[in-house]
């Protein structure tokens, strides 16, 4: 007894991290193993495939920049979905809030182009966050007031947002010409790319949005750990009954949590518009999927804000490297999508392990009962 007690006390931080990260790590490895089998079954060499993939994602400054470009919006949407999960809210409509955030940024970017950069960018970011929060507000209100499930309402709002933005991008905000897209933003509202910030770097596309995302992850962590709001969110998520008894309003916490989640997803849109594309495209034809991948990121990170950064980088690597893999080996980039789906399934099916353990215990018990009876 005393030994186990001692063991718990001296458990190092890295041992604890490893214990927590065990299921996600195993899930990723399992998903990649099954992906390899699929690649092999289709007549390709899985080792060559993954070599090309990692080469394409991490092989040089430009490649790493592309990985960061993919990971940046995923950090935001991962934080968004994860924050919702903490209040046991499933914000499956992060995609819609992402789209509305993009729309907000594209619109404000055109509107505030005259302001100096240090004023314009924070204003646009706040505006985009508000757009995202607004898009989550009605589902939040419906959840709090009439109990309409947020999975359905945020999903419906996601589609409404998709078509609304599609209309705005091909109508009121359309750049003259045949392509449905907004006018290119003036460069003083762009989030600066890293080569402008760090002298000596080759020209890259990765931008300040990544830094904002990482800082935001820390802020979210602090909000969850150190503030009353964070405490309420976690309490409602863990045990709504007990939270209510303790005087926490479930309705108010629900509205706050879902709106914050929406704001975070909206920021992902702003980062894409201000940093990566400098305009907004029609999402019907060029759908990002960042919202949906955000679900995978949050699940893989087990909703931990710092874990989200690593999970997003992992998916960033897979997505950025997939193109090189397809080019060099002829394997479709869609293999990454399959792996992504498998990761979600395995992480969420943590119980697969416990299920097998229970089954074995049950069998053992039955065997013992049989022996007793015999």
């Amino acid at each position: 007894m005393s030994e186990t007690h001692e063991h718990i006390v001296v458990e190092a931080w890295w041992a604890k991290a490893l214990r927590i990260a065990a299921v996600p790590l195993v899930s990723v490895l399992l998903a990649m193993a099954i992906g390899s089998v699929i690649i092999w079954l289709s007549g390709f060499d899985p080792i060559a495939a993954f070599r090309a993939l990692f080469q394409g994602a991490l092989g040089g400054q430009r490649q790493i920049s592309e990985t960061i470009i993919r990971a940046t919006p995923l950090i935001f949407t991962g934080l968004a979905v994860g924050f919702g999960f903490r209040a046991s809210l499933f914000n499956i409509g992060a995609e819609g809030q992402f789209i509305m955030g993009s729309l907000g940024a594209a619109w404000l970017g055109l509107l505030l182009a005259g302001l100096p950069t240090p004023v314009a960018i924070p204003l646009i970011l706040i505006g985009a966050a508000l757009f995202g929060a607004a898009w989550a507000f009605i589902p939040a209100l419906l959840k709090a007031k009439v109990g309409a499930h947020e999975v359905i309402t945020t999903m419906m709002f996601s589609w409404i947002g998709l078509y609304l933005s599609s209309w705005i991008v091909s109508g009121p905000l359309k750049e003259p010409g045949s392509i449905p897209q907004t006018t290119m933003l003036s460069s003083n509202v762009w989030l600066p790319s890293f080569d402008r910030l760090i002298p000596g770097l080759i020209p890259v596309r990765a931008h300040l949005g990544f830094v904002v995302a990482v800082l935001l992850a820390i802020v979210v962590l602090l909000v969850l750990r150190r503030t009353t709001l964070g405490y309420s969110v976690r309490a409602v998520g863990l045990n709504p009954g007990a939270a209510e008894n303790a005087g926490i309003s479930i309705a108010r916490t629900t509205v706050y949590a879902l709106c914050i989640s929406g704001a975070l997803a909206g920021l992902a849109g702003a980062s894409e518009v201000l940093g990566t594309n400098h305009r907004m495209f029609d999402q019907v034809s060029a759908g990002s999927g960042f919202g949906f991948t955000g679900i995978a990121v949050a699940l893989l990170a087990k909703n931990h804000p710092i874990g989200v950064i690593f999970a997003a980088l992992l998916f960033g690597i897979l997505q950025a490297g997939a193109g090189t893999m397809q080019l060099e080996t002829g394997i479709s980039v869609l293999i990454v999508q399959i792996i992504q789906g498998l990761v979600i399934f395995f992480v969420a099916a943590e119980t697969i392990v416990t299920w097998f353990v229970k089954r074995r215990q049950k069998l053992k018990l039955e065997r013992e009962e049989a022996v007793d009876a015999g």
């Binding site: 289709s42 499933f90 999975v151 359905i152 869609l334 999508q337 399959i338 992504q340 789906g341 979600i344």
Partner: protein
């Protein structure tokens, strides 16, 4: 103004467009009534659409005459079976492993998109004729003599009736008829059979159902697999009947409209069908707005938004209360 719009073709088109949504929506109804959320319908449809086309092509190439001649029907059966198998993963995850139903569904949707697209790139160039469409002309030929007397004199009232019946109902493909039958039969089964009563009890109060001897786990599995079969059928309707080929992500959100239709239809099979019909009608109208001035001014996107906006309004309680089964989405553990 609407005169040139209101023709049999519009209504036939609404029925056609409603079919895949309705089948998936009824699948969703059965599934949710048993207490399992199924947002994987989009993925199930996609897998069904894919397998339907793939197996049809394989069967067409068969040297056995019977198989080659009935290739499309074999493809249709394959679509249903693939839907059942794929939904089996969801059943295993949601019921046996007690995963969050929405997470399991999301994973399957992403996987379906990846898998079908991935295999498609391997089997490049991938089309088939819409062979099942032929069956309905046979029905029309059979019924034609009955209405012969009506078509002999022009301007006749009966002729107009026949013109409408022929235009709206006799130009459909087999699965469109199956969908109407499924809606009626499932509705009857849900409210008039012992199976239906037990299924509804499962979604409301599984513990009570269990205490009177309903096998919760097995019945829920059955419900999920039925929804998989209907989802697969919906996919077959899309790929084998409407388009005649498979393309990446060809369901384009119909599985999610189906979820909306299920809610709009208040978790009942006939309700789901009628809601799908309404959504299908909006879509059919959108495809024909060019001819009508005041409709043409409305951006296409607003027609596309229509099902989702309606569903939110229903959920908000502006059109009476819309409440799903009480125990939906909750894992059941026997004590």
């Amino acid at each position: 103004m609407l005169g040139n719009l209101l023709n049999p073709d519009l209504f036939a088109s609404a029925l056609r467009l409603a079919t895949p949504i309705a089948l998936a929506a009824i699948g969703g109804t059965i599934c949710e009534r048993s207490g399992v959320v199924n947002i994987a319908l989009e993925g199930i449809m996609l897998v069904g659409a894919f397998c339907g086309v793939a197996v049809t092509l394989l069967a067409q190439a068969s040297s056995v005459a019977f198989i080659a001649q009935n290739a499309t029907w074999i493809g249709l059966v394959a679509a249903v079976i693939s839907g059942v198998l794929f939904s089996g993963i969801h059943a295993f995850g949601a019921i046996t492993l007690r995963m969050d139903h929405v997470v399991s569904g999301t994973a399957l949707n992403i996987m379906a998109l990846g898998l079908t697209g991935f295999v498609l790139t391997i089997l490049n160039g991938f089309t088939t004729g819409r062979n099942t469409a032929g069956a309905s002309t046979a029905v029309r030929h059979m019924l034609n003599p009955v209405f012969d007397f009506a078509t002999q004199r022009s301007g006749n009232f009966l002729q107009t009736v026949w013109y409408w019946i022929d235009g709206v109902f006799l130009s459909l493909t087999p699965i469109a008829y199956i969908a109407i039958i499924v809606a009626v039969v499932m509705h009857w089964a849900l409210y008039r059979t012992r199976w239906g009563l037990r299924l509804r009890a499962l979604g409301e109060h599984p513990k009570a159902a269990d205490s009177v001897g309903v096998r919760v786990i097995a019945s829920r599995y059955a419900a999920v697999l039925i929804s998989g079969a209907l989802g697969g059928l919906a996919g077959a309707n899309l790929s084998l009947e409407q388009v005649g080929s498979f393309s990446e992500n060809m369901t384009t959100g119909r599985g999610f409209i189906a979820l909306a239709a299920n809610i709009f239809g208040r978790w009942t099979p006939i309700g789901s069908y009628l809601a799908s019909l309404l959504f299908g009608f909006a879509q059919a109208l959108q495809l024909r707005v060019q001819g009508v001035e005041f409709l043409a001014k409305i951006p296409v996107q607003f027609f596309l938004m229509f099902p989702y906006v309606l569903t939110v309004i229903v959920l908000a309680g502006f059109m009476g209360r819309a409440v799903g089964p009480a125990a939906v989405g909750k894992a059941y553990e026997k004590e």
